[in-house]
Symmetry: C2
Subunit: 303 residues, 2 copies
């Protein structure tokens, strides 16, 4: 590193978004969840990512949520998810995020009909034409069905259209190989970030510029510990070992379903996923409690 990177660098904490069964955001509750993340070690707050259920909320509710987050975040930069099925809705989300004071945009190539590489190029260009805010490409094939391959990533990065990437775990866990290949070909100030908490230790050890973290959005302290240990392999492994039972649950049920249960368990309040996404069963909740015990996570700063 040593270059000046974008607002996308560092540990970005992705909170859940409380809403009722009609999809109306509880802004009071959401503001407190965002405020809870304003602490040393967190670099930005990523609202309306997959964890924040952006695709289940209307354009209007998403706008309310971003306003709330920016107010609650204080001096902490807010990154906002702008993805939608239609480009015109994406552009509305861009404008609303700008108005609300978001400092960076998270662009996922959301699809119903799978998108082609050319479709995604056109989407990115339309967003670039609509805003001066920096853009992080939110590469999440498990939800969007589109995988940004390294060639397209390098092309977009060098065209100056995107400033960062939030990649899923590197193929076969080879973060070193992927980061080396990309660093050699993207601009120096391009931010190479990863999501996928369960295998993030590998990305941190390999020198990723950012961790876009589900865990940090609800249990920031343990996530900060892991992030801060990124240059000390032994320490990193020791902390990651405490998290192993949690990562196992993330892998088995998906981090988003698990983190919604955790928010309730640690006293951050009841936050439901929208139907038809069911809550997890009693046995799984017991496993989550055991995983929490092994990391001794107590979010006692929440008010």
């Amino acid at each position: 590193m040593g270059f000046e990177l974008t607002v996308f660098e560092g540990l970005s904490a992705f909170p859940v978004t409380p809403s009722n069964s009609d999809g109306m955001v509880d802004c009071d509750h959401f503001g407190r969840l965002v405020n809870h993340l304003n602490r040393d070690g967190v670099s930005s707050i990523g609202v309306l990512g997959s964890t924040g259920g952006y695709m289940y909320l209307t354009t209007e509710e998403r706008s309310r949520a971003i306003h709330t987050a920016v107010d609650a975040a204080g001096t902490m930069p807010v990154l906002a998810g702008i993805g939608a099925l239609r480009t015109n809705d994406v552009i509305t989300n861009v404008k609303n995020a700008e108005k609300a004071g978001a400092q960076g945009l998270l662009l996922a190539p959301v699809s119903y009909l799978p998108l082609t590489e050319a479709d995604v190029d056109s989407l990115v260009q339309d967003v670039v034409n609509a805003t001066d805010l920096p853009i992080c490409f939110y590469n999440n094939p498990g939800t969007t069905k589109f995988n940004l391959d390294e060639n397209q990533l390098v092309r977009l990065a060098n065209a100056g259209t995107i400033d960062a990437v939030k990649n899923p775990p590197a193929p076969e866990g080879d973060f070193v190989g992927q980061i080396d290949r990309l660093r050699a070909t993207v601009p120096n100030d391009f931010c190479l970030g990863y999501s996928g908490d369960a295998s993030i230790a590998g990305a941190l050890e390999a020198g990723a510029d950012a961790w876009y973290s589900v865990l940090a959005g609800t249990l920031p302290d343990i996530a900060i510990e892991l992030w801060n240990a990124r240059n000390d392999v032994n320490q990193l492994k020791a902390i990651n070992e405490r998290l192993a039972p949690m990562w196992k649950l993330f892998d088995e049920y998906g981090s988003i379903r698990i983190i919604h249960e955790i928010a309730d368990m640690v006293g951050l309040g009841n936050v439901k996923l929208p139907s038809p996404l069911l809550p997890l069963g009693t046995a799984t909740r017991q496993n989550i409690e055991q995983a929490l015990n092994s990391i001794e996570a107590i979010e006692d700063q929440f008010v």
Copy 2:
């Protein structure tokens, strides 16, 4: 066959839905497209399926489209897509489809976060609780990321919660095996239907109860020819051979992108997919024209 089947049986024609760049449906144009399908050999009109771009339209626009379709369809039954990411929106779509006079519902388990079998069970039950209309499970893993496996299908069919299935092509093209397995275990009046025009001849030869057809929604005559030949293998193969260049394009680019180009080419008017879905290029359009020549499709009844 020989049992009394549901409204889902037969050749169901799925038209495109004309809309502007803001997602407002052109009801005049749409009504004419639906009316164009009201002819001998078509059993029902399937509006707001994947071909009809349901996921790119608001609840309100979808309601307008179903009203238009029912008016334009005359005595022809209208089947309406009700899928949405949130169950509360699905239920709103159910109520709107009922009010508009749809005679059957097409329920796709749409997802952003992938759904579990239990999530989908709960979604189906919520729809059943909200309506007396018959339900066809719209099994389309390529867009929903959820594959209804045969065990769950049989369970739902025997619970009386779903009345039909719109399945994608059988695994490895073994329609005979899949239909034999399912017929032996679902109720006699359950409708086993297929989509996937490019391999539909195999389903017809194997005795499928229904063809949910992209082609029929824009080029009904050739689709009716193929459907009517289903009990005459030689005739079926001869017609299917004429369609081979078309099926090749469907496989390569997806039937939905191709059919939008065809609507324009055969004089049904310009119908765009929403951005970021790009139109196909000049070379592909030339291939489509050649495929049209080989089936001699002229939709000269359109006014």
